[in-house]
């Protein structure tokens, strides 16, 4: 091909193929998953016993390795008894797309909890609150501090070395400490998200602030801007689009700390739901819960990205 294609290094992808590729990126994994689940000869390493026949140790609904099952069938044949029957299945930890989908739908159709068990939505709502407060608290500290560090070299020298040290400490390492200080309920979980996000946030935002076009600063200074006015009339509006993008990335970061945070103290939220369902071997529910996290995370990010197009039109078009 003489024209630049999307498969050439740094090539270009046309509008139509962009849509096709985007669709494929979702469809292909689903197709593979469906094939593995529904086409019996592709994987299916186990057998689900539907009729134990004459074999004593078999029960209906039992899963076993295919080789073991075939041995059992041969034994029964040899003994002249009724052979066990079964269908080939995948391991319990790989439910079919249909199973996961119906579990997902079930979560919305039947939102009420039964007994002490929380439904997937209730559990997830709790998680979202943890994320929200963790991210808000982190941002209230991190954004102003980051911007100030970026704009004031002296403050940057004072703050950033210690922050650089702290960010290498894994947030989960603070788990026990946070429980000791903040108790076992939601506070230590929020604290873990804050710890996981805040230090990165300060450094990332300080860097973004430092990248402000210096020419704009100089122009503003020759026009009489100084101090607070310079800060709020030039620095803040100038970095806002990049700051917004940083916040989007950092929100994703906060999500990655959620699971760890929720295991601390009394386990709660979507993590509690996932571990509980896994214990019951309801893996369709586990996948549904994981999918929910992914969908909400991606959805939020897409929404924020979409909003940015309207908020920062000047930036979009200059790039």
């Amino acid at each position: 091909m003489s024209r630049m294609s999307g498969w050439a290094l740094y090539g270009k992808v046309g509008r139509k193929s962009r849509v096709v590729l985007g669709g494929l990126s979702i469809l292909l994994p689903l197709l593979i998953w469906s094939a593995v689940s529904y086409v019996p000869f592709i994987w299916h390493p186990q057998v689900l016993v539907t009729d134990p026949g004459g074999e004593d140790y078999l029960e209906e609904g039992m899963r076993m390795k295919r080789a073991d099952f075939e041995r059992a069938v041969q034994e029964m044949h040899a003994a002249g008894q009724k052979a066990p029957e079964g269908v080939p299945v995948n391991p319990v930890y790989l439910p079919s797309p249909g199973g996961v989908f119906s579990a997902f739908v079930q979560a919305f159709v039947q939102p009420d909890s039964h007994g002490p068990e929380k439904s997937i939505l209730q559990a997830f709502w709790h998680s979202i609150q943890i994320i929200f407060w963790g991210f808000v608290i982190s941002s209230v500290i991190g954004v102003p501090l980051g911007v100030l560090c970026g704009a004031l070299p002296a403050l940057s020298r004072l703050v950033e070395p210690s922050v650089d040290f702290l960010r290498y400490l894994p947030a989960p390492a603070f788990g026990a400490l946070m429980v000791a200080i903040l108790g076992i309920y939601d506070a230590p979980k929020i604290a873990i998200i804050v710890i996981g996000t805040l230090f990165q946030q300060i450094l990332v935002i300080a860097n973004t602030t430092r990248k402000l076009d210096f020419g704009l600063m100089e122009a503003a200074r020759t026009l009489g801007a100084r101090g607070k006015r310079l800060m709020f009339s030039v620095v803040v509006p100038g970095i806002l689009p990049d700051l917004y993008r940083d916040q989007r990335i950092l929100l994703g970061w906060a999500w990655t700390y959620l699971i760890v945070a929720e295991l601390i103290g009394t386990s709660s939220g979507i993590t509690w739901f996932i571990t509980q369902q896994a214990r019951y071997q309801h893996f369709a529910n586990v996948y549904a819960a994981m999918a929910l996290i992914g969908i909400v995370g991606l959805g939020t990010d897409m929404l924020l990205g979409f909003a940015a197009r309207f908020l920062f039109r000047w930036k979009q078009e200059t790039e």
Binding site: A219, A220, T222, L223, G238, R313, W314, K315, E317
Partner: protein, 303 residues
């Protein structure tokens, strides 16, 4: 040294009208005074003298151009005048008051487009007024007047990136003027523009300068531009940056493009070239020993 077309014209001899105008300029107050200005850059223990003993007086409504070879520190000079860099010695006075740091009394137009991309054209022009504590409404009113004056009121609500480079620089000029500086400093403002736009901008700038009480210090490396625009040209030489000569341009005003072919213009340019290009030119070293070997057939000639 004579002009190329056979006539021998001394660039130092001012025609009567120019001499008279020059005398008038010199009778006006000095707006910008530079006294024994020096700048030393210290880097890794080594000191480089960028500017040494610069003295100049710029009179009210005078148009001064600063030229010099690359590395003569002309950009450093204008940045010090703007207060963006600190002088190592000497001082700068605006209206006989020493200045320190940037201030609205010295406006600046940069080589790079430095309009605030998130502000509309009008909001950009309003910036200096807002910083001076003038109310939004009054700032807007004055900004619109400035835009009208330079013929850009149609674009008041456009964003900078929607304008061409030339128009962006016009807005930058309006933005600097709106803050009502005493001196307008211009650091190679037109060098990023294409040749045609540059000529139009020069004419436009002179038109503005003629109608507005503003004093201009204009940095350029384009000798034609300097001669075309300036009343006086300050020539710097490099290593260290020092004053070489101050030339009074022997061209009458208003300036017209035809003057560029006149004997006075050519004589001035020839002299400037001899000042700037004759001393062992460093840039020549970069090309030394770079004769390209013949990579085609000897018979395949293009000239």
């Amino acid at each position: 040294m004579g002009a190329g077309n056979g006539m021998t014209v001394d660039y130092r001899v001012l025609p009567p009208d120019v001499a008279e105008r020059m005398a008038r300029i010199k009778s006006r107050d000095v707006v910008l005074r530079v006294e024994n200005l020096g700048k030393v850059f210290a880097q890794r223990g080594r000191e480089t003298v960028a500017l040494e003993d610069i003295n100049m007086n710029v009179h009210r409504r005078e148009f001064v151009c600063v030229v010099g070879p690359s590395g003569c520190g002309k950009s450093t000079l204008v940045r010090i005048l703007a207060g963006l860099e600190q002088a190592s010695s000497g001082r700068i006075l605006v209206d006989d008051k020493p200045v320190d740091g940037p201030g609205p009394d010295r406006g600046m137009v940069f080589q790079k487009y430095t309009l605030f991309p998130w502000r509309t054209v009008c909001q950009n022009v309003m910036f200096g007024l807002e910083m001076a504590g003038i109310s939004k409404d009054e700032s807007r009113r004055q900004a619109m007047q400035w835009l009208q004056a330079i013929g850009l009121e149609r674009f008041a609500d456009s964003l900078p990136h929607q304008l061409s480079g030339g128009m962006q620089q016009r807005v930058a000029i309006a933005r600097a003027l709106a803050a009502q500086p005493r001196v307008l400093l211009m650091d190679e403002p037109f060098s990023a523009l294409d040749a045609q736009t540059r000529v139009r901008m020069q004419t436009h700038l002179m038109e503005i300068w003629r109608k507005i009480d503003i004093t201009i210090v204009f940095i350029t490396h384009d000798l034609d531009e300097a001669i075309y625009l300036a009343d006086r040209i300050l020539v710097l030489k490099a290593h260290p940056g020092r004053m070489e000569e101050v030339i009074e341009v022997p061209l009458s005003r208003p300036r017209r493009a035809e003057q560029m072919t006149s004997a006075e213009f050519q004589a001035t340019k020839a002299h400037l070239e001899s000042l700037i290009h004759t001393p062992a030119e460093e840039t020549a070293d970069e090309f030394e020993g770079t004769e390209v070997p013949l990579l085609t057939l000897v018979t395949d000639v293009v000239e």
